[in-house]
Symmetry: C2
């Protein structure tokens, strides 16, 4: 496999993964492209590598910057901006977890807490079933949230050691 072919295969796969997880496919592709590029790239270069328009490139680069996954730099004597991705994948994972926890997990936890305040006969089958499911869900989502908080805050070595032990203890 040639390098260009391998890059393209990776970019397509990363785009597909992103879109299956609710991330704009092009945004994931731009991220993939920058992840495997040794140099920072200009908007022009990204546009032609992925065959996308200027507006599209700009929007998705801004979104990636917003997620904390990509930064801009200026090269001496050049006016145009160059973009590069955080290459440390552990840091990338932490950042993605941080954002998704904030954007998606927190709001749903909030709703799970709110709906516990349902009125009505606490003996009725309807209310009992509702509260039972909501409470179970709240426990599990809450536990997952606390675990992910640890992931986001923890040192990579400590975390990987711990994970490794869990995986092997159970093997």
């Amino acid at each position: 496999m040639q390098l260009d072919e391998a890059k393209d295969k990776f970019i397509q796969a990363w785009g597909a993964l992103g879109s299956q997880w609710g991330i704009n496919r092009t945004m994931a592709q731009v991220h993939a492209l920058l992840l495997v590029s040794p140099e920072s790239m200009s908007a022009e270069e990204i546009m032609s590598a992925l065959n996308i328009s200027r507006g599209n490139a700009n929007m998705n680069l801004r979104a990636l910057i917003d997620w904390g996954l990509v930064s801009k730099e200026h090269k001496a004597g050049e006016r145009r901006e160059y973009f590069f991705a955080e290459k440390d994948i552990w840091a990338v994972a932490q950042q993605v977890i941080l954002e998704r926890r904030k954007r998606e997990l927190k709001p749903v936890l909030r709703v799970l807490e709110d709906v516990k305040a349902v009125e009505g006969d606490p003996e009725s089958a309807e209310v009992v079933a509702f509260l039972a499911s909501i409470e179970n869900l709240h426990n599990i989502v809450g536990q997952a949230d606390r675990f992910l908080e640890v992931v986001v805050k923890s040192d990579r070595n400590w975390f990987f050691d711990t994970l490794f032990k869990i995986v092997n203890r159970n093997a």
Copy 2:
């Protein structure tokens, strides 16, 4: 808050969460509806509760059955089918992880392995940068995959104890 209001709030939130994670919004809503329903429901009941067409209800119920989250039953003397969700949220979480690992994580791991076979000067900055990122990614995604495999196979009590210890050790 009245029960109907709370149910609706939960169904909307669950639908929104699903759609942010690449799950059809209606499928997540049907799942939410069945999760908090004390009795199994017919297609008619689901259609009217969510204001969706028969075709839509049928398709999403089948998808939920396919994911292993919902089952059918027949009531004595009735011709129509009734649907109910797995209420054990730990089992639901395991099932969702199982499916997403199979559908999405495995294919991307496969690609990460494949593209390591890139040809070309292993000294060139392009190839070096490409392989470095791919290998880091492969390590992290692989570790996550092995961890999730443990989650899927493990006993809920053991798992929650372990998670609890991790969360508190790091607090």
